[in-house]
């Protein structure tokens, strides 16, 4: 009996011991994931993360079109960089209204946004996502780490690291423009919970971006000297000229001369305007594009999301529009207020080809009615040859979005010259007429020196660059964004438009950021 007992006890204990000796089984690692140590073992591994650094501005997450978003608190499709930038830069201006009821979206055109607005939170989060991913890449591509990992092509990784710094500077430039005084992190900021970065002032951030860009510039590839979709020297110059153009707004000190200098470098970088303005935003605009300096790239099958150019095309198609014109199904959202078409000599594009509208009611009485306000057909997922995009379901666009293109740099040169940046007046007129001639298809649109005024530049920027994410910044620079001197339908939530308080020239820091970081103080007025 006792023997049996001992045997049974022994057996039971053995099983119990087995169970409790399993403490090491508490270390689990997910099957399909990979640690940094296993990922950064080759140039290819680094490149897959560099891809994510760029894609943080083009895609919304790890699963196309949606399902595993990078940033939260917002619908994933809306969390796309271009879509958010469009909402904050265009919907708040005369260039656009939207029919939808997405959270916070109507407050933008009504100019009554508050710090809890999800779209404001979205762009802030998206920019910081790009910065944090860049920081990670910059950390992991430090010389000592690359050396320790004995990567074959270390020079290539050095180059990638500069590009990650460029993406970071670009994302900061958007934060500087939109929010003014964000938090500040770099590759030395740890990853975790409860870490509270310090706030940076708009002026200090300007200096940081300028310094970074100048530091990476010498070692970046020559203009058009990198792979398509990756930044080169011209991209760095373009960003420098853009922040210099707005330096007075950001820091109180104008930098017109520097704006002239760097836009000129780009203009002389070997780029040329496309012959047909209407081919700028087509499905195959990645092919033979001599005007684009740096693009965010899309593909209707391989790079899908519900933002980006998919948003720009679909959101602007609705009502009685023929869906084949733009080539995607249409979500019935975006139109222009009458101010935008009225900048053009006609609405059909017969004179100025940049006038690309679907004419419905010009006047808007109900913002939620798609058929009120002209629809815009600038972005079309059709090919130059007249074909459709690669997605048979006609949901996703192939159009690459030009973050920088030559015409903008020419317009920067013109404006900075007019404002006393020391540029060559003749060149400025030449550039203006290059843009005008392309628009009109001939010289009838040409202007004279007398016509080349700052007001002309503001209007010309609208005609050339509308719906590309510039309008709010331009109106702020020209002091026409908030005050009553320039009105548009439903500005300030009133049908005929009204001025709003000037503190709205920058957006508030999102409430969620204030709620998680006590070092961040809200912008004045909010």
């Amino acid at each position: 009996m006792i023997k049996v007992s001992i045997k049974i006890m022994g057996g039971l204990l053995a099983v119990a011991m087995l169970a409790s000796s399993c403490n090491k089984k508490l270390d689990r690692f997910p099957a399909n994931d990979i640690t940094a140590a296993n990922l950064y073992t080759s140039e290819a591994g680094y490149k897959q993360v560099l891809g994510k650094v760029y894609a943080s501005l083009a895609l919304t997450g790890n699963s196309g079109p949606a399902g595993s978003g990078d940033v939260a608190r917002i619908d994933e499709g809306t969390s796309d960089f271009i879509r958010l930038l469009y909402c904050l830069q265009e919907l708040s201006t005369d260039e656009a209204v939207v029919a939808w009821n997405d959270p916070g979206i109507q407050d933008l055109h009504n100019m009554n946004w508050g710090s809890s607005n999800p779209i404001l939170d979205g762009l802030y989060s998206r920019c910081f996502y790009a910065i944090t991913i860049s920081n990670e890449f910059i950390r992991e591509s430090a010389d000592d780490k690359v050396a320790a990992r004995a990567i074959a092509n270390a020079a290539s990784i050095k180059q990638m690291r500069l590009e990650a710094r460029f993406i970071r500077a670009f994302a900061y430039s958007v934060l500087m423009d939109v929010y003014g005084n964000p938090g500040f992190v770099d590759e030395n900021t740890p990853i975790g919970a409860g870490i509270r970065p310090a706030q940076i002032t708009r002026a200090a951030l300007f200096t940081y971006i300028e310094t970074e860009l100048k530091a990476i510039e010498p070692d970046m590839p020559a203009p058009r000297g990198n792979e398509y979709g990756r930044a080169d020297k011209a991209a760095v110059w373009s960003l420098l000229s853009r922040i210099y153009l707005n330096a007075q707004v950001y820091t109180g000190t104008a930098k017109w001369t520097e704006a002239v200098t760097y836009s000129k470098k780009v203009i002389d970088g070997g780029y040329a305007l496309l012959s047909d303005y209407r081919q700028l935003m087509l499905a195959d605009n990645n092919v033979g594009n001599t005007e684009a300096i740096w693009t965010l790239n899309y593909d209707g099958l391989k790079s899908q999301n519900y933002g980006g150019t998919t948003f720009l095309v679909n959101a602007s198609v609705g009502g009685d529009m023929d869906r084949t014109v733009s080539g995607l199904t249409g979500w019935g959202g975006l139109r222009a207020t009458k101010n935008l078409p009225l900048l053009f000599p006609d609405f059909t594009g017969a004179i100025d080809k940049r006038s690309q509208f679907f004419q419905q009611a010009l006047e808007i009485t109900n913002v939620s009615e798609f058929k009120e306000g002209y629809a815009v057909t600038k972005y079309r997922n059709r090919t130059k040859a007249g074909g459709f995009g690669v997605d048979p379901s006609r949901t996703f666009a192939d159009i690459d979005f030009p973050v920088f293109r030559l015409a903008e740099q020419q317009l920067i040169y013109i404006e900075a010259t007019l404002r006393g940046g020391g540029g060559d007046a003749t060149s400025a007129l030449t550039y203006a007429n290059l843009i005008r001639t392309r628009a009109y298809g001939n010289a009838t649109g040409a202007i004279t020196t007398a016509g080349l005024t700052l007001d002309f530049v503001l209007d010309e920027r609208a005609r050339e660059l509308y719906w590309e994410g510039f309008r709010r910044t331009d109106l702020v620079r020209f002091n026409r964004f908030t005050d009553g001197s320039y009105l548009w339908p439903f500005k300030g939530g009133v049908k005929n438009g009204t001025g709003v308080a000037s503190f709205r020239n920058i957006y508030p820091i999102p409430a969620a950021e204030l709620g998680s970081n006590p070092n961040i103080k809200q912008n004045t007025g909010y």
Partner: protein, 999 residues
């Protein structure tokens, strides 16, 4: 039946023969039969002892005993668990006795996790519901058996689809982002999670196999399950093999399910009138069709179902092997056309004892196979918004002959972009089927150690494996997926449709070992019950990834990985001491430490203690002789439990995840797959809940009235919450981390009464009341007053809109809305809201928190009557103070829904007639309505026909489920889990007829 005859013919004579030969001449032999006062049948296993001696025998399978009584002895003691002890005098050679079920449950044993405990010694909030108290009727899923029966337990069915599950909340749930589901343990095996293709993990258990539910509500009771007990524990015990001869039971129910009502939408004539007056000229009028279709009538039907169960239970192999075998078959159609649920179950229990009963074995094996056909529930939303002037079918054979909006100017004339799919086509042109297999099994060995009295060792090994697989098929001519076609060079190469597979499996393994020492120590008038043990649990989930295919199986996209896998492991050590002094004072202390693979090494182990004290006041001298008070007990308890369920398996790990093939990025002419670092908190640790519970249990007037009152306070800290993080400090803008507190205060009252009781008539009443009031007391790392809270509760309408919010100082999930302004006639004025902060601007700063979907008070009330051979009863529930947001009205009750700006006509909720809103006003508090209700869940009636055939006892039952609802709420059904009322699958009214035969 053959088996039974065999037993009669062989076993009984042999038994008598054996016993008979052993009788000494001077002794007197007494034989007799022990029967149950209630059923009149023989009771096996009853112990007969000759008073004053050690001579004892047990009754056989028929309840018959034979005992030799020494000369001079006159009294026999008859005892059996659950029955009152009886003494009888023996004079002759025959002594029959009728045992009466003991009215006091003092010796009743309750399963408490890692062992059992005498009910009278309980110190925690534990409620036990046995099979005789289960909700009766056509019950398809186990949790429905106790709905409305237990204070503090809320069971909300997730809808009316066949086989659908429920949301169970004990005392309202303790977490925000981690799981609020209680731990469910079936025969010692914790079960969790379903697999793809299973709409409810619990529906794999046949309710007919369940003997008992024990609900551990407070941490002092549940802390022995430490790591997983924050939301309470539900222990399910299945039926075991009975002692005695083999008995069979056959039960069958046939039931019909009717549509209890449909939501109110406009009819064709109303649409015509509205388009005529509000439409924009002739173009809108031209869109009006000629039909008059009630789309909801087209998608619903009255559905039938049947449930068959057969079981055998008894003891075989010379009384050595008690067993129970059961089989069940359920076949149920859904009221939404095409839906069907079938379930086959098999249950085996063996509970033999070896080595002179020192080694007790309990072996349970449960297997189930369900097959589902899922009706496309998108049809419900489509039917309430589809234009009633359009017909179901048209003469054109395209799109399966179903009316469809056809676009113009495109290749092949596909359906109009974004146009709604014909609701009937959604049902009839899709065929989504699944098969789910599950087996739960365990082997428990309990060995009484010979050296120390009262010491036994227990080993339990178990598993829970399940596999779900299925196909989703949509015809290539279905309008909903027409767009998935493949076009190459402007020609359709493959038509659209869907033909996809899925498969997922789970494998949970369990090993538990404990030692228990229980003994009365007379010297110090004490009883000690000590348990110490260790456990290991492993959870593995595997998902196979399949390509996305069209109907013709041509591939649209392929997955990056062939399968994905998640696994986590828990290791536990625990101890429990129950010390009883003088039968009056009971002290329980437990401590458990758990290690979870979900946390980093330094934070992995959590320690969860509890202590509780009970004072059995009725054992005090001043009450012991009371004729009024039978039972009076005071309980106080304190406990800490941990939580790590419902969160990412790897939330603390720094790692990179690959993108899928639709999220590549182009450099040059190459598309690169991407690697993304995942957000993580290296310091992630246990969420802990502290609970204080104080209670009184009482029974008076011979326990005719009994009940308990519990008050509790619960505080959860270090909530595993997904909260905003300072931007730039992690790879997302929010993170799963430990932050925040949530507190609840509550009261539970349970009252059971038998107002009338006689031989022929008995009336029982059960009442339970719960008040629970959860409040968030901390939410963020930095409490910023301008931070409004974490928005939750996504609604239909717009993109990414939410209607609820978690805010400090408020109930979780409070509605976050604008204050509607009404005109003199009480009609809401479109777009006019109060400027609550008086800043002259109406924006998100004017949203306010208005009510919550959580019912602060819920009540269960049930009653049963026995009149002779008839019995009847009902179960009802009341929820008070819960509010719903009518997302159906806010999204569908507007003109925009009828004159759809995308180019077709639709249908609207009749609420449009009340508001006249042109555009959606999603955030108006007009849509938040009081949804308090009284629901008559179940009315049943039964007739005991007695022994209709020889040896066959027949009962006949009839019942109605979801009988009626009393509410002021304007929607279809006020009971909406989460409070956002949007296109719920209507819960059917079920009328069931059943027959139950014991033989």
């Amino acid at each position: 039946m053959i088996f039974k005859r065999l037993l009669k013919a062989i076993v009984l004579p042999v038994l008598l023969l054996v016993l008979g030969t052993a009788v000494n001449a001077q002794d007197k032999v007494v034989t007799g039969k022990v029967t149950d006062s209630k059923t009149g049948t023989g009771l096996p296993g009853v112990t007969i002892t000759v008073k004053g001696t050690k001579t004892a025998v047990q009754t056989n399978v028929e309840g018959v005993y034979t005992i030799k009584v020494p000369a001079g002895a006159t009294t026999l003691l008859v005892s059996s668990t659950g029955f009152a002890l009886q003494e009888m005098n023996v004079s002759g050679a025959t002594a029959n006795v009728i045992l009466v079920e003991s009215t006091s449950n003092l010796n009743e044993v309750v399963v408490v996790g890692y062992g059992t405990q005498r009910k009278r010694d309980l110190t925690g909030a534990v409620t036990s519901v046995g099979s005789k108290d289960f909700v009766k009727g056509a019950i398809q899923s186990p949790e429905q058996l106790i709905r409305g029966k237990v204070a503090g337990v809320q069971i909300t069915s997730n809808g009316g689809a066949p086989g659908s599950g429920s949301t169970i909340r004990i005392r309202g749930g303790a977490s925000l982002n981690a799981s609020n589901d209680p731990l469910i343990v079936i025969d010692g095996v914790p079960v969790d999670g379903g697999v793809s293709g299973s709409s409810n993990p619990l529906n794999m258990i046949n309710p007919n196999d369940i003997e008992n539910f024990t609900i551990l509500k407070d941490p002092s009771a549940a802390a022995i399950y430490g790591s997983r007990a924050s939301n309470g524990v539900i222990l399910i015990t299945t039926k075991k093999g009975s002692r005695g001869k083999v008995k069979y039971n056959f039960s069958s129910q046939f039931f019909g399910q009717t549509v209890p009502g449909t939501v109110n939408v406009l009819n064709a004539d109303q649409i015509k009138t509205i388009v005529g007056t509000k439409g924009v000229g002739a173009s809108d009028m031209a869109k009006i069709g000629t039909a008059n279709t009630n789309w909801q009538d087209e998608i619903y039907k009255t559905a039938l179902g049947q449930d068959l169960n057969l079981s055998a239970s008894g003891t075989v192999m010379n009384g050595k092997l008690p067993f129970r075998v059961s089989g069940g078959f359920l076949n149920q159609d859904g009221i939404l056309k095409t839906g069907n649920f079938k379930r086959q179950t098999l249950g085996i229990n063996l509970s033999p004892k070896f080595l002179k009963d020192k080694l007790k074995v309990d072996f349970n094996l449960k297997g189930a196979r369900t097959t589902n056909r899922f009706a496309d529930e998108g049809a419900i939303g489509s039917a309430i918004s589809f234009d009633p002037t359009q017909p179901v079918r048209v003469s054109s054979p395209r799109f399966g002959g179903f009316f469809t909006y056809i676009g113009t100017g495109q290749l092949g004339g596909p359906p109009t972009d974004l146009s709604p799919a014909n609701p009937v086509s959604l049902l009839e042109m899709t065929n989504n089927k699944s098969e789910v297999l599950r087996s739960i099994g365990n082997l428990q060995l309990d060995y009484t150690l010979p050296w120390i009295k009262g010491l036994h060792a227990n080993l339990n090994v178990g598993y829970d494996v399940q596999k779900g697989s299925g196909t989703t098929v949509t015809s290539d001519s279905a309008p909903s997926t027409y767009r998935r076609r493949n076009i190459v060079n402007n020609a359709v190469v493959n038509a659209g449709g869907v033909n996809n597979e899925y498969e997922q499996s789970r494998q949970n393994l369990l090993g538990d070992f404990y030692l228990n020492y229980a003994n009365d120590i007379a010297a110090i008038n004490s009883r000690v019950d000590f348990t110490a043990g260790t456990g290991y649990q492993d959870f593995l989930i595997k998902t196979k990834n399949f390509p996305d295919r069209r109907y013709d199986k041509s591939v649209i996209s392929t997955p990056v990985f062939a399968s994905s896998e998640g696994e986590y492991t828990l290791i536990s050590y625990y101890g429990r001491l129950i010390y009883t002094l003088a039968k009056k004072y009971v002290l329980t202390g437990t401590v458990r430490t758990d290690g979870s693979s979900k946390f980093a090494k330094d934070n992995r182990w959590g320690v969860f203690p509890s202590a509780a004290f009970a004072w059995r006041i009725n054992e005090e001298d001043f009450l012991r002789s009371s004729k009024v008070v039978n039972d009076l007990k005071l309980r106080v308890g304190y406990g800490v439990t941990g939580q790590q369920d419902g969160i990412d398996y790897y939330g603390y790990l720094s790692r990179y995840t690959a993108s899928n093939n639709q999220a590549n990025y182009q450099f040059g002419n190459t598309f690169y797959g991407l690697y993304r670092p995942t957000a993580y908190d290296p310091n992630l640790k246990w969420e802990t809940t502290t609970n204080v519970n104080a209670a009184v249990d009482f029974g008076i007037l011979n326990n005719r009235i009994s009940g308990s009152v519990d008050v509790f306070y619960r505080k959860t800290k270090d909530l595993l919450s997904v909260v905003p993080v300072a931007l730039g400090t992690n790879f997302s803008n929010q993170l799963l981390t430990n932050v925040g507190r949530i507190e609840s205060k509550g009261v539970e009252v349970t009252l059971n009464a038998t107002p009338f009781k006689s031989k022929k008539f008995q009336w029982d009443i059960g009442f339970n009341f719960t008040y629970v009031n959860p409040e968030i007391t901390k939410l963020l790392l930095n409490e910023d007053p301008t931070f409004k809270g974490v928005p939750v509760g996504g609604i239909s309408g717009g993109t990414g809109n939410t209607i609820q919010i978690h805010t400090v100082g408020y109930s979780p999930n409070s509605f976050f809305v604008r204050k509607q302004i009404y005109d003199a006639a009480g009609k809401p004025i479109e777009g006019l809201y109060e400027d609550l902060n008086r800043d002259g601007i109406i924006n998100e700063n004017d949203l306010y928190r208005y009510k919550s979907p959580n019912a602060p008070v819920f009540i269960g009330f049930n009653s049963s009557f026995i009149i002779g051979k008839w019995n009847a009863g009902f179960v009802s529930r009341i929820n008070l103070g819960n509010y719903n947001y009518s997302n159906f009205n806010s999204s569908n009750g507007v003109q925009r829904q009828i004159l759809n700006p995308l180019g077709w006509l639709g249908n609207a909720s009749t609420d449009y007639l009340n508001t006249g809103f042109v555009n959606n006003q999603y955030f108006s508090d007009y849509y938040v309505q009081n949804a308090s209700f009284l629901k008559m869940d179940n009315i049943n009636i039964g007739y005991d026909a007695g022994e209709v055939f020889k040896g066959a006892r027949v009962r006949i039952t009839a019942n109605v489920q979801n009988v009626f609802t009393i509410t002021n709420y304007k929607g279809l059904d006020p009971e909406v889990g989460g409070g956002i009322d949007n296109r719920i699958y209507p819960r059917p009214r079920i009328i069931a007829l059943g027959v139950n035969v014991d033989f």
